[in-house]
Symmetry: C2
Subunit: 205 residues, 2 copies
């Protein structure tokens, strides 16, 4: 119970830190400010983190933990490849829009970390890409994705669409995050990837 | 003639500056380094730019000039909307891969500029987005893009795929920039946007 409480507190610190570092930049952000944002003194924050780098590394590791838990792990229970691609896209879009906007933008600046830490995060990002690419390659071998598509470019395009949402999604926008996740899944999976033409009537040409 | 030479020199300075600022970050980059990269002393560089902000603003303005000249202007001569969408995507992909990788990544950090300069650049980026979105909306009204697609999300997805190429394209990679531009046009225009199913045989489901 105490461990769970500590983990929840740390997750709140990561979320606050990601927002501040995104807004002000890594160099201009102090531990003091991050502490203030979550109602902790600098000494209180030191109870969890001894240095800014430790907090930043923890934050990006936590971001990759969320990807594993909310995007990748659920795929194991889904039998069909089409549905795996749909769930992958939907869950990743939802994760980014729910609380991953700042994490996503910071992951693109992984090199603000010391080299050894950056390597560990980049290895996990690479593994995420390889999982997505592998899923698409399998879907292509089994005829769900047309043979003439380059699955590496398709996987990179998937990441392009998804990670870019972190820069433009606004909670106050005209569409809910569920509606946007549905639009993105439609564009990326039903249209861009899957072989059959999208269902529903086509307009005359 | 002398004016043309000066402009070419300035374009070379912008290109070198974009590479260095991307690699080292804005704050860590000095005018001296940028000068050295193009064979100019600090005094020589001062002949063109008096301050780092001036150079950065010039660089991002030049990046938007390239978009106007190489991506948007050619569309006027193309009668069909399908072909306009193809040319837009192809030319933008080629521009990014030819010499726009660093410019593209820096445009995402436009807020490193002083506020008034950032506003001017962001206004031009917004106009680019509106042009792309307007083209897609027109293609939808005329039946080239299916009615159920949200063209705002489609336009943002277009920018997601295209600008993300700036982070992963390598000149030494297995595909030439022409091949990659063709793959991306295929994924984004033929499959994601246009109403008719892509040409060519479909694999059995």
């Amino acid at each position: 119970m105490r461990k769970r409480k500590r983990q929840e507190k740390i997750a709140r610190i990561y979320l606050a830190a990601a927002e501040i570092v995104c807004r002000k930049g890594h160099d201009a952000t102090t531990l003091l400010e991050i502490g203030q944002a979550v109602g902790l003194t600098k000494a209180g924050l030191y109870h969890y983190f001894q240095a800014k780098n430790e907090l930043l590394y923890g934050m990006l590791s936590y971001a990759m933990d969320l990807v594993q838990r909310e995007v990748l792990d659920p795929l194991a229970a889904i039998p069909s490849l089409d549905d795996k691609l749909r769930a992958l896209t939907w869950n990743y879009a939802r994760l980014i829009m729910r609380n991953g906007q700042h994490f996503t933008r910071l992951l693109d600046q992984t090199n603000i970390l010391p080299a050894a830490q950056a390597r560990r995060i980049n290895r996990r990002r690479r593994a995420f890409y390889e999982t997505v690419r592998g899923l698409m390659a399998e879907a292509q071998r089994t005829g769900h994705i047309p043979p003439h598509i380059n699955v590496s470019v398709a996987a990179l395009s998937f990441f392009g669409v998804l990670t870019f949402t972190a820069t433009w999604y606004r909670q106050a926008g005209p569409l809910t995050s569920e509606q946007l996740a549905a639009e993105i899944t439609q564009l990326v999976v039903e249209r861009m990837l899957l072989a059959s033409p999208p269902s529903g009537p086509h307009p005359p040409r």
